[in-house]
Symmetry: C2
Subunit: 184 residues, 2 copies
C-alpha cells in the first residue's frame, strides 16, 4: 500500500503514538541502514515532542541510532503485518532489510535516517536524552518533523500482544462532548 | 460489567499493556483514595515487571501514589468509556471518584491502593524508581501482583487518540508461525 502524506503538526503526534501501535524504527550511519520492530514506547511530552523508546542492546538499529543520534519512527498498518514480524525476527547486522523485505527508503527532511515509504506515518527524530540507556535501554527522542498519510483518518494500526499475536485498531468512538475544553 | 479474574503471571503482563490501552491508576494514602486516567505508559522490563508511567504533577493520584509508593494500574474496556473520560476530566482533590462514578474498590493483596472491580485487569504496583519524576514526570513501577479476567481472551480495550476520540481494540491476528521460537 502507498500512502500520500503531508506535514503534520508536531504537537499532535500523540494521536498516532498514544494508541500504542507497533512501530518500525529506521536508522543509518556511514551508509549502513537498519530497521527494528519496537513495541515498547510512550509519549513523554507535547512540546518538545518527546517519545520514550526501549531499544535493546542486541538491536543493530540501536547501535546506528545511538551513534548517529538520529532515527525515524515509522508506523505500519495491518497490510505490513508479515513484514513487521519478519523485521522483528531478523538482524540488520546480517541483512539489508529494505532490500530483503521490499521496503522503499525515502530521504528524510531533517535527519540522515531514511523514512519507510510504505508506512502510514513517519516521525523524524533527534536524540534528546540517552542518560537512561544504560540502566533501562530507554532513549528519549524528539520528533523534529512529522509526515502522516492524508487518508484514511483512522488507520488500521497493529498492536502487539505477545505470543505472536496482534490486535488491529478497530472502531473509532468520539466522546468529545464529555471533555472539558482545556482537556482536548 | 463484572469480570471473574485469576492470578496472572507477572512476566506476561505485556500482553495487556504493550497494546497501549488507556488505563486507570488508583492510589490511596491515609484513608484518601484517588483515580486518574493515564495514556502515556510503556512496558520497560519483563523481570522485574516494570512499567514506565507519565504522571503529571496536577494529578492528585500522583501525589497519593508517590507518597504511599504504591498504586494499581487498572485496564478498563469499552463499556467503561464514559467513566474513563469523566475520571480524566475531574479531580480526586474535589470528589471521591469511586462513589461519584459507581466504581467498586476491592482490597488489593500486596498494596494499600484499591483495585477497581469493574476493570478487565488490575496490576498491583510498588514504586521502583522515582528519579525521573522531576525531569519527566516519569515513574517506574514494578508490578508485584496481577489479576486478569478469565474471559474474554481478547478484551475490547480503548486506546486514546487525542481530540476526545478513542480506538477500540478490534480483530486479533496470530503470526506465531513467522516467529523464531526464542522471540515468542
Amino acid at each position: 500500500m502507498t500512502y500520500r502524506k503531508r506535514d503534520y503538526p508536531l504537537g499532535d503526534i500523540r494521536r498516532h503514538l498514544e494508541t500504542g501501535p507497533i512501530v518500525l524504527v529506521s536508522a543509518a550511519y556511514k551508509g549502513e541502514t537498519a530497521i527494528m520492530t519496537m513495541g515498547w514506547h510512550m509519549v513523554m511530552e507535547f512540546e518538545p515532542a518527546l517519545i520514550g523508546c526501549y531499544m535493546w542492546t542486541e538491536n543493530h538499529s540501536r547501535t546506528l541510532a545511538q551513534t548517529s543520534k538520529e532515527c525515524v519512527i515509522n508506523i505500519p498498518t495491518v497490510d505490513l503485518i508479515d513484514t513487521v514480524v519478519k523485521i522483528g525476527n531478523s538482524s540488520s547486522a546480517e541483512i539489508d532489510k529494505f532490500a530483503a523485505f521490499g521496503l522503499t527508503p525515502v530521504k528524510a527532511a531533517k535527519v540522515g535516517a531514511p523514512l519507510i515509504k510504505e508506512c502510514y506515518a513517519n516521525f523524524e527524530c533527534r536524540l534528546y536524552d540517552a542518560k537512561l540507556a544504560r540502566k533501562y535501554s530507554l532513549f528519549v527522542w524528539e520528533v523534529v518533523k512529522a509526515h502522516v498519510a492524508i487518508s484514511p483518518k483512522n488507520p488500521r494500526t497493529i498492536h502487539y500482544r505477545g505470543h505472536g499475536e496482534f490486535t488491529v485498531a478497530g472502531q473509532t468512538i468520539s466522546r468529545r462532548r464529555l471533555f472539558k475544553p482545556e482537556m482536548l
